[in-house]
């Protein structure tokens, strides 16, 4: 999971449900990017800190050389590049990113790619969150303005 998706899912109040139902990895660089918000008391940073302390979010080290390659090839920050690098190295791992460059790098490298909206719908379909919680999460994601409205609408249809 990259910093973008961690922040969005935390804002949508479903990050903990994700961590309860999937094994979620972050790299030290992604963790650092999210935790930069702690100084400003951003709730997403505080939540990620707690989930990491409780071992619900796992921090694993990336391949430095591969991370550097992605940083150069795609002009990505260390966090985003590291999460692409780790997904290439870890077999049977999905990459969760809502970042344009991260998604581009994942697609070019044939990685199994996810976005935050699918995660919300999946949690609802697996009965891990209620319809109300899924609807609220989608509303928050819509308000964050990160996604095209047709994607939010499609997700709403799935939880209707």
């Amino acid at each position: 999971m990259d910093a973008c998706s961690a922040i969005l899912l935390a804002k949508a109040s479903v990050l903990e449900s994700c961590a309860d139902n999937q094994v979620i990895f972050m790299t030290p660089d992604v963790y650092e990017e999210v935790m930069a918000g702690k100084e400003r008391m951003f709730p997403d940073a505080l939540l990620v800190e707690r989930l990491t302390e409780n071992k619900k979010l796992k921090i694993i080290k990336e391949d430095r050389a591969l991370t550097k390659k992605f940083m150069q090839d795609f002009n990505m920050g260390r966090g985003e590049a590291s999460i692409v690098a780790i997904t290439i190295k870890e077999i049977n791992t999905l990459i969760l990113t809502d970042n344009r460059q991260g998604r581009k790098a994942a697609t070019i490298n044939n990685l199994s790619l996810l976005g935050s909206i699918e995660m919300v719908v999946h949690l609802y379909q697996k009965k891990k969150i209620s319809r109300e919680k899924a609807a609220t999460a989608l509303k928050i994601l819509q308000e964050e303005g990160w996604f095209e409205p047709f994607l939010i609408e499609k997700a709403r249809e799935e939880i209707a």
Partner: protein
């Protein structure tokens, strides 16, 4: 902040007025007002520059945040304000859901 140095620059009357007005409003001297405006202007300049780069697929949001000196969360808010959306398509969304099933 590094040691102050002298920089000669020719400024138009309306820009000088801008500096004077800022100094008055903030109750600071003109040098301080000019410095504040330059720092703030530079930040806005970088935000605009890196938002355009991000929009065009030229850099990632964390790279943009690093270059501008904001957190990723703050840079995401800037992207939203600039109307920049995720490039995710319906097909990608469907594929993502299948992967999780």
């Amino acid at each position: 902040m590094s040691e102050a140095q002298f920089l000669g620059a020719r400024l138009e009357g309306d820009i000088i007025q801008m500096v004077e007005k800022t100094a008055q409003e903030e109750h600071v001297d003109k040098t301080k007002a000019l410095k504040d405006l330059i720092i703030l202007g530079r930040k806005q300049f970088l935000i605009r520059r890196y938002m355009e780069l991000y929009r065009g697929g030229g850099c990632s949001i964390d790279q943009a945040a690093k270059e501008v000196g904001l957190t990723v969360a703050e840079m995401m808010q800037e992207a939203s304000r600039a109307g920049i959306k995720s490039t995710e398509t319906i097909e990608e969304y469907r594929r993502g859901l299948k992967l999780l099933a």
